[in-house]
Amino acid sequence: MSPEGDKKNWVGKPLPRKEENRLLRGRGKFADDIKMREMLYLRFVRSPYAHAKIVSVDVSAAEAVPGVVCTLTGAEVAPQVQPFIEIAPDPGGKIKDYALAVSKVRYQGEPVAAVMAESPGIADDAAELVQVEYEALDPVVDAEEALKDASILHEEAGTNRVWNGVFEYGDVEKALKEAASVVSIDRLHFHRFSSTPLENNVVIAQWNPKDERIYYWCNNSFPSFAIQFLSAHLNVHIDRIRVETSDIGGSFGIKITSYPQMAVCALASKKAGGRPIKWVETRSEHITSSAHGNERTFRDTRVALDKDGVITAIASRHIDDCGAYPRYEPLGCVIWSQVFPGVYRFKNARIDFTQTVTNKCPVGPNRGYSRMQHLWFLERVVDICAHELGIPADEMRLRNYIRPEEFPYTTPNGCVYDSGNYPKMLQVAKGLIGWDDWKKKQAAARKEGHLIGLGIGTTLDSGTNNFGQSQIVNPGAPFSGNSQGANCKLDIYGEVVVAVGSCPQGQGHETTAAQVVADVLNIHPDLITVRTGFDTERNVHTGFSGTYASQFAVSGLSAVHGAAQKLKAEMKRLAAFVLETQEDDIEFGTGAQGPELRAKSTGKSINYWGLANIVNVNSAVLPVEMHDVTLNCRYIWRAPFKVPDKVRKYGNLTLTYASQLHIAVVEIDRDTFIPHILDYVAVDDCGTVINPPIVEGQVYGATAHGIGAALMESCVYDAVGNMLTSTFSDYTPITAVNMPKVKYGHIETPSPHSYSGAKGMGEGGAAPIHTISAALQDALFAEGIIVDDSFNNADSLFRAMVGKEIGQVGKLVKLERRAQ
């Protein structure tokens, strides 16, 4: 029997992923793999218009097609349901959002009707026959134009503005007045892009007339959020909604907002007499109509700096474009403030934040949700100031970084950064990329006319939200804190079975949960079964359960750890009774008959089967005082948060802060204007690493996503709201072919806020977007060009360099130096 010794036998080890065996052999079970008797297939009829009144919807031709069972329209659905819950207070709270457009459409691709048929092909063909008459209205696709309210999307709200609030801390005006220099930046813009999961959205729904329950099999990535919206929308008690997920082929947050489609599928099933309805989203539907990341414009930025280039204050006006319906918004209006000062020390700041609707696809919590836009803004500010003041980018950061000795660091808005060491990350990254050598190469190349830039991006991946921040955007919101559930049990034959309320999409939850339990019970992770997917019937979920916001390593594994500890305590107590010894005489390990507990004093042991047998099928031997032992332990972990101060907008909004520091070397081809990445380094700090290959994989994934976003992926709309990038021909997601070789490094600053020292990670803070913007600016600053947009491809670089249409430093940036 192996001794019960090091509590971290498995946590921290590069254990191969348990999921791999299943997934790489094609044995995964995804939602589209599910086929049910009498299942029907749903096809949406979508609006070609970005903004139009619906004059009429004629489904008669579609319903006449053999094999079509029924259709649904918005007018038919609206009387049966309540509008979806709006998180916003008024005016945003007045918006009425239905799963099918009722009287008007507000973005191209909005579902107007649904056709249910015996086969997907019949549904597709019949959907083409639905006649919708529209009366075009003036579309609004620009956020600043939308705020003029010349054309209003939601008449019931009376304005396109969803939310506005001012986040102000310290004394901004004093800092600006006393500054040695002030840099003004007229406009910066963070572009709209999305995620490209291998598996699109899939919903199977059955509104069962026998028990009046709704059953979902789907790949929504935040089911406990979805059922809260669905229950209120469908007028169904939440316990009557069952949601199951299985393997999910990526989400990146985008699948959180699939609840409208889930509602339509349930209503369609009801109309079809309880037959199951399957909807499988096409790729074009996903690109045009699932969810995009938030687009944000930064106006009238003023930055105060002291004589050493230390930033003392920032004032700015931010306008967020959430598309046609707020849905998960306006949470993004506060979530960015989890990283209010980024990695920097300035104490005085005022951000006037406004969110507006536009005639574009609604946004969803895309990887790095709301924070990446703000972090990109801060990194742009730092680089622009550095260039204006002639301070090297690395030196500028060192002067402004929060210092290692200042952790835990309280930000001006009350967030507590748990740990970090940004100067060390910079040092590691510079070493990995060969910073000094590249600077020499850059200088030599510039003499030959080459445009080479080096860029640094320092960023944060804040994980485990305090949902109390929702009360900052809506004081009446009934959410605060964060929690996660888990169950750990010995099954009847002694198997260790773990269930968690998460729904992983590639993050390796099966593996890391097994590692944690293996350490608690001192057994091999292969002896532990971790139930995959989410299921409301498992009763391990809380209202926050799902997989999002870089939190499983903290919230999920803390719940697993808690449940395993409870199980361990029960096993120890039971074993002490059976082996007639004291609990502190019991040790855990593996013996000749598998995992067992042994009395150190006598050498007698009982294996897991023996313990489970007594509790489950041989319980007459248990004395009454042991009847509370179930070997089936549920644990709810709760984050130690308080409700933030809603008036001051002050409080701790997130539990852990992983950090990333990337460096890129980029060359812009002078003939083609194509930017090429010559070298790339990604350094990560997510505290104590639970499984190094999983962390490394997440870093590569987030880096790929960010490089794609920086150079290749953009949701482009024309002036009337046509999405011009609705296929992979135009929305070009990054692939392995486009990826540079990434040099990976990491440091560990353990978090004091999680039991293992781990910090949530996986979103990556969109570090490549900041980094590539910085490198491009370094390459172009001498040409009088400021990188003012987060998306930079050959076309935009041509427009900046040759057309002089965008990014002209003289128009965008003003430096005011003052005598001291």
């Binding site: 070609p48 970005a50 083409e128 529209y134 075009a136 024309d718 709201g721 011009l724 296929t727």
Partner: protein
């Protein structure tokens, strides 16, 4: 996606004759490129069905037209709205007439807004296609109005708005 077009030509017919031709759906509509059928609801409203295609994407468009302005003999303007290939199109086409050198100078201008997936799938082809079809329409108009007096050369310009 907006496609704007404008141009002018001269014909050896008086403005009243030209106006009468332009405002008669039975004469005007068959000149539309790809014209298939037409149904006239009243003197100012009619629906035309035309074949449209961009490369391999082919289909039929049904466009509801309205003679929105008719100021005899100086101005006629059509407005239309229809559906095509899962998308939509709305258009305006106006003709300003002026007596010139024994005939009529026709100054024409219009704008077509295209909505829907066609703009994504074939967006780059819509400009040249639009220009080609406008040219066809104008050529057809001139030919129909030619009569015995002949026409002046026409010139079409397109520009994206």
């Amino acid at each position: 996606m907006a496609i704007k077009f404008a141009g002018e030509f001269e014909v050896k017919r008086n403005p009243e004759e030209v106006f009468g031709f332009l405002t008669d759906p039975n004469k005007f509509a068959p000149l539309l490129p790809g014209f298939q059928t037409m149904s006239v609801q009243d003197p100012t409203h009619f629906t035309v069905k035309v074949n449209v295609g961009v490369s391999y994407i082919k289909g039929a468009a049904e466009v509801k037209m309205e003679l929105a302005q008719a100021e005899n003999p100086t101005r006629a303007q059509y407005k239309g709205q229809g559906s095509v290939a899962g998308g939509g199109v709305s258009l305006t086409a106006g003709f300003d007439l002026a007596a010139a050198d024994g005939g009529t100078k026709v100054a024409w201008q219009g704008e077509a807004q295209v909505f829907g997936r066609l703009t994504s799938v074939a967006g780059g082809l819509l400009q040249p296609l639009g220009k080609k079809n406008v040219q066809k329409l104008i050529d057809g108009l001139q030919a129909a109005l030619k009569g015995s007096a002949g026409t002046m050369p026409s010139e079409a310009k397109t520009a994206e708005g």
